[in-house]
Assembly symmetry: D2
Homo-oligomer: 271 residues x 4
C-alpha cells in the first residue's frame, strides 16, 4: 500500500474508502471504530473531501455554511423535486436528483462563481497579501468587470436587497474561529469597490459569502458548489417529508392545467 | 398565519421555509440568528424533515447513521458520478445526481426496504409490544418470507459475511442514547429467527441497521432512503474532489474501450 | 471477433457500437454509409435495442407509439424540466434528465406495468394461444386482481374517461400491419373482463396500449418504459424550446411564492 | 383562444399540447387522427420544437443527425447508465437520466458550442452573406481564437484523426436536400482557415457538423444540444437492452474493486 497516486499506469487508485470482510476504512480511519459515534456528519463530509478532519473552528464554520444553504422555501428546485416525486414516489433518489439538477448557474452556481472570481484575483497576488493589496486588487477587478458589463458574482439578492441575513453571520463565525481568510476579506472589498464604482450598494449575498468561506476552508473553487448541492439535498428531503404528509404537487399540476391557456397558432418561423 | 395545512382549498402551504427582506425562517426559527452557528448540519437536516430539533442522543445516532452510509469505496454509484463528471465538469450537480440515481433497490434501497418490512410487522402489534411479542412476530414473519421464497431485507452482505462492522456500533450507540426502539429490537429478532429457520446465520447489514435506526428516530419508512441519499451525496463530493486532483474516469473509459470485444452478429431474436 | 457474449471471463463485450479511425459500426452496419440517410431515427432506435432493423409495418407501429407518448401538455414532468432549466440553463441535459425522472410508477410506468401484467399471463399459456384461451386467462387474471383489490394496469384515464383517443388508433395501426399480437389482443380481453366483473367500463389507456404494442413488437417488459422515456425526451425538448422563447418557469415560481401560506407551528410528532 | 403568448400577465400559456376528454392536440393538430400513423417520430420531434412539420428534405437531414449522434460504443455516458441500472433496475428512467447527464461540455456539448460559435460569426454578417464573406469571417474568427489560445469547437476528434465519417455524409445529405445553409458552409471555411493558420489540418467532427446542420434547420443554438441528448437516449436504451440480456456492470464494478489500489496517506493539504 502506497501513499501517492503515482504515474499514469497506476490510475486505478483511491484514497477515500475500502472494505474488507472485517472493516471499512475511510481516509485511513476505521469507519465503525474511529468515525461512527465520534465525528459528526459534517466532519465526515469534510474528511471525505479534504482527506483530513477539520478543526473545531473549521467544523463550526462549515456547519454554518451547510445550514445556510440547505433551504429557503418553495424554490424552483423544491418544486421540481415535489413534481418528480408525484410521478415516481417509489424512487425517492430520482426526486432528490431532479431537485439538485436545478443547482446551476442561476441559483446555486453563485457559490462556485464567487469562489472562482475571488480565487482568480488572489492568484495574481503574492502569498499573504495585506489588506491594502486586497483593496487595490478588488478595485481593479471591479473596474474591469464594470467596464466589460459583467455581473460580479456574490453581490445582490432579489429578496434581501439591503442585507442578506446570512452574510454577517458567516463573517462573524469566521472571525470568531480565526478563519476569515483572504477570500472572505477580498469579497468585502469587492462589495465596497462595487458600491463606489457604481454608486449602487449591493449586499454580499449568502451564496457568495458561503463560496468565499468554503474557499477559505481550503476547498478548490471547482468543488465548492458540491457542498451547496449537499446542503440542498437536506432541504429537499425535508420538502419530500412534507410532500408525503401534506401533498401539494398534484394540486399544483391541476392548478396549472386549469389556468393554462393553449395557443394553437402555427409558428411562422420558416416559410 | 395558521398552524395546520388545512383543507384542499389550501394546498399551497409549507411549514419549512420562508424569506422576507430581513430574515429567512426555517421551521419557525430564524435561520441566521437561531440556527447558523448554533445547530449542526445534522440537527438542521433533522429539523427540516421532522419539524423539530433532535435531542443530543438522537443527534448522535442520526450522525452515526449518516456517517455509516456516506461511502465505502469505488462503488457503481461513485463510478457513475466520476464518469459523468468527465463529460460535464461544468455541472457538478449533474455528476452528483447521476451518482445518487443508482441508490435504488439493489444497494441503498435496503435501508427503506428494511424499515418498511419492520414497520409492517410492528403495525400488526399493539403499542409498546414486549420482547416476547417481538420475537414471536419475527418468527412468524420470517417463516412466511422463507416459505414464499422472499429475501428478508437487512440481512447478509457480500463482503461482510460474518458481521457488518457498522451494525454493532449502531446498536451500541442507540443503546447508549436510550434510543433502541422497536425497529432495532425487532430486526435483531428477525436475524435470529432467520438463522434458526434456515440454519444459515446472516448478519444484520449496515444498511438494514441504519433503516431500523432511522425508523426508531421517528421517520416514516418512505422517507428513510432519502437520508441514505443525503449521506451518499457527501461520499460522492469526496470522490469528485479526488477525481479533480487525481482523475481516473478517462483512464477507466480508455481501459474499457481497449479491452472490450465487439460482437457483431445480428440478433436472431425475430424471424 | 465472435458472435456470442460468451462466458463470465468475457463479460466486457458489446454488440452495439464500435469506432475505428475510419468507421463507426452500429449493430454490424456502417453508420455513415449504411445507416445515415437510409434509416429513420425510429428504425435506428429499434436497431440499437433489438439488434435488427424493423419491417416497414413494425416501423409504422413503433413510430405511432413514440408519437403517442411524446407529449400531452404541461404535465408534472414538463414543469419539472422547465423549473430545472430556470436554474441551470447552461446544462440542458440536466433539465431533460429532471423531466424524465418523473417517468415513474404513477405516470409513464403504466407502459411497463401493462407489459409485465400481460406478459405474466401469456407466460402461463402455451405458444400461440387461441382467442378463447386469451379470454379465459383474462377473466381469471382480472378476477384475481379484483379479489385482491389490485389495480389492473392499462385501464382508465383521469381525462379520457370514455375512450383514450390514442388507443383505437394504435389498435388500427397494429391491425393494418398484421402486428396485433397476443399482448394487444389480451389487453382488450382484460378490459372487457374488468367491465364485466366490476360493472364499470374503463377504457384501455394510451400508455397501456403502447406497452402492449411494444411487447408485441418483441421488446421485453423491463425495457418498454425506456421507449416511453425516449418519446418523452422529444416532448421535453419541445417544451424547453418554448421556454427559451416564452418563459414561464420564473413566473410560476413567483406565483407559487406569492400565493403560498407559511405554516410555522412546530410538529408535535415526538415529545 | 389566442395565437400569441401575450404580456406578462398571461405567462401561463403553451402552444405545444392540450387534452380534452375526447382529444389530444399537439401544436394545433389532433394527435390520434392527424399525427399517429401519419408522421414519423422524427417529424413529431421537429413539430414539437419548431411548431411546424419539416419538409421531406429537412426530415431526411434531421433523421441523419439523430442517427449520427445516437451511439458509438461503450462511452462514459453508456457506462454511467449501465452502472446506475445495476443499482436501480426498477427505475429505468434513472439509468437513462444518469447517462444523459454526461452530455456536457466535453462530449456532446460540442454540438451546441459549434452552433453558438458559428451563429455568433453569422450574426456579425448581413443577411445572406456570399461565400467570400463567409471565408473572410472564418479567417478572422479563427485568427482571433488562435491568438487567444481558444479551442475552436467542431474541429478534431480523438479517434477519427483524418476524417470523421459522419461529416461528409451529413454535408452530402444537406446538399442533396438543398439545405446546406450558412452554418454548414461557414464551418467548412472555419476548418480550412484553421488548417491554414496553424499548419495542422483538423477534420470537422460529426458533433460539429451535426450542430451546424441543426442550426441550418432553424433551431436556436441554445436548443441544439437537446437533440443530441434525444439521440443519445436511443443509444442508452439500446445499451440497457443489452445490459438486461448480457450484463456487464456488476463485472465491471468487481473488476475495478479487484484492481484498485487504496492509498491511505493523509492529505497534508493544510497544517
Amino acid at each position: 500500500m502506497s501513499d501517492d497516486h503515482g504515474d499514469s499506469a497506476n490510475w486505478l487508485r483511491t484514497g477515500i474508502g475500502a472494505s474488507t470482510p472485517d472493516a471499512i476504512t475511510i481516509r485511513g480511519r476505521d469507519l465503525a471504530r474511529e468515525l461512527m459515534g465520534t465525528v459528526t456528519f459534517t466532519e465526515h463530509a469534510f474528511l471525505l473531501a479534504a482527506g483530513r478532519l477539520p478543526t473545531p473552528g473549521e467544523t463550526k464554520l462549515f456547519d454554518a455554511v451547510l445550514v445556510a444553504l440547505a433551504d429557503h422555501g418553495l424554490t424552483p428546485t423544491v418544486l421540481a423535486a415535489r413534481l418528480t416525486y408525484l410521478g415516481a414516489p417509489e424512487s425517492i433518489q430520482g426526486a432528490i436528483a431532479a431537485g439538485l439538477l436545478g443547482g446551476g448557474s442561476v441559483f446555486l452556481g453563485v457559490v462556485e462563481d464567487t469562489a472562482r472570481f475571488l480565487h482568480a484575483i488572489l492568484d495574481g497576488l503574492g502569498a499573504d497579501p495585506g489588506d491594502d493589496a486586497l483593496q487595490a486588487a478588488a478595485t481593479e477587478a471591479v473596474a474591469e468587470a464594470v467596464a466589460a458589463g459583467r455581473r460580479i458574482p456574490g453581490l445582490g439578492h432579489p429578496v434581501h436587497k439591503v442585507e442578506d441575513p446570512r452574510t454577517p453571520r458567516l463573517y462573524a463565525l469566521a472571525a470568531e474561529g480565526g478563519l476569515a481568510g483572504p477570500h472572505l476579506d477580498l469579497l468585502r472589498h469587492v462589495a465596497a469597490a462595487h458600491a463606489k464604482a457604481t454608486g449602487k450598494a449591493l449586499p454580499v449575498n449568502g451564496a457568495g459569502a458561503a463560496g468565499a468561506a468554503l474557499a477559505d476552508l481550503g476547498f478548490p473553487p471547482a468543488l465548492v458548489r458540491g457542498f451547496a448541492i449537499l446542503a440542498r439535498a437536506a432541504g429537499i428531503v425535508g420538502h419530500l417529508a412534507e410532500e408525503m404528509a401534506h401533498p401539494m404537487a398534484m394540486a399544483l399540476y391541476r392548478d396549472v392545467e386549469d389556468r393554462a391557456v393553449y395557443v394553437t397558432g402555427e409558428s411562422p418561423r420558416r416559410p
